[in-house]
Chain length 254, copies 2
């Protein structure tokens, strides 16, 4: 099943590499492409959701890419000097450090707009609606983070959980799964987002680790992974690849 | 008919004043609301389009507001120090000058996301599709402007024309006018955007005025107004309020 995850990741990489940007973006293209690095966790999750319900994963690629573009948008703007002031991202200069602040602001804008363009290629507006709600949550979460003092779980839910949920839910909407079947999926996605964030905090030594210590944070991550597995067990679908993803997120080291 | 324009503007003002922002945006709300000043030319144009075809203008308010929010988004980001570095907007501090750069970046992001949320309240994704294309054009136009050297008509078409067109076209999509009837409307909107921009240049003493001189720029504006009227005459709808808007844009002094 690890093999299937790698197949899905390769599909995402190929789709993003060949993605034609809106021609009007002109010379923003290199900055937009520079921003599109990453591990593809969210788009792979979107495709694996499609796999589980027997959808054609190729049909879900625009939705998967849209989620990834929203993720990239948030990193490009969060890295700006006025926000987190990060000169590096994934071992390379961040977009503003490489292309300047003005281009980074516009490249972030372009990424979020391109994300909605992709989400809007489906006949149903539901994919884009799911994505816009997650985007608004992330923006609010970043503002909350800037101000400081917010409860960690609320912050994580907005900054990370919302887009993890959207990764799963956009897959369902794109595959036209009726909303009556969404409940356990949304619950699963929530646990997965929490798992991802706690492990992130353990790897970075911040967040939950500062709140409760590393051992307790690892236990919280294991509990979230257990709940994610339990939610998957409730779902009438072939969730073996998703089980694999839960397991990989629980033990990841980067 | 000037009275009807004022009625439409009052509808827009009331809708925007009462617009409930996404709760997750939290403390971004004052900055977002600060950004929402302006003359409401685009949303009034959207509603007047609805009026012309006999649609209920109240039903077009989300589309009209979405267009206005995209306009506000672009101003908030363009005013930033890294871009145009404008401390003032409409006789008041710009969003970054009042709330700081970080909040202004996020408030701009919030405005564009809220715009798509509103555009996505319609059953058809066509309203949001029209808006996303205009948004991408504006972002590309701003990048082109930063780089300098672009032909003025191309720059104006991206930075101003695209959203003027979207103002009209979102009204048609929201009212579910079939695309087979869109041709003359799109042509009208194009002329109106050009008219607006040339008059803007005349009032600011830049753009076309620097290219061809003030008298020639005024003649170009008059010609655009004539063509806009001619396009309206081709349309089978009650275009009297739109005629009024063309006339007002041609002679505006602010």
């Amino acid at each position: 099943m690890q093999q299937r995850v790698e197949q899905l990741r390769a599909l995402v990489e190929a789709y993003l590499a060949e993605l034609a940007l809106t021609p009007e973006l002109g010379t923003l293209e290199p900055a937009v492409r520079h921003a599109l690095g990453g591990k593809r966790i969210r788009p792979v999750l979107c495709l694996a959701t499609g796999d589980a319900i027997g959808a054609r994963v190729e049909d879900l690629l625009p939705a998967a890419a849209a989620v990834e573009l929203v993720h990239s948008f948030s990193l490009v703007h969060d890295d700006l000097p006025a926000l987190d002031d990060d000169r590096e991202r994934r071992g390379a200069p961040s977009v503003w450090a490489h292309y300047g602040e003005a281009t980074a602001i516009l490249a972030g804008d372009a990424l979020v707009a391109e994300a909605f363009r992709l989400a809007l290629t489906y006949p149903t507006p539901a994919v884009a609606r799911e994505l816009v709600d997650a985007t608004l949550a992330m923006i609010g979460g970043q503002q909350m983070d800037l101000e400081g003092g917010a409860p960690l779980d609320r912050l994580h839910s907005l900054k990370t959980g919302a887009l993890f949920s959207a990764s799963v839910m956009c897959g369902l909407w794109a595959a036209e799964v009726p909303s009556s079947q969404h409940g356990p999926w949304r619950a699963f996605a929530g646990e997965l987002g929490l798992l991802f964030q706690i492990v992130d905090d353990v790897l970075d030594g911040d967040g939950y680790v500062l709140d409760v210590g590393e051992d307790a944070a690892r236990r919280l991550a294991d509990e979230a992974a257990e709940r994610a597995h339990a939610r998957l067990a409730e779902i009438d679908a072939d969730t073996v690849v998703l089980e694999e993803i839960v397991g990989a997120l629980a033990v990841r080291s980067t």
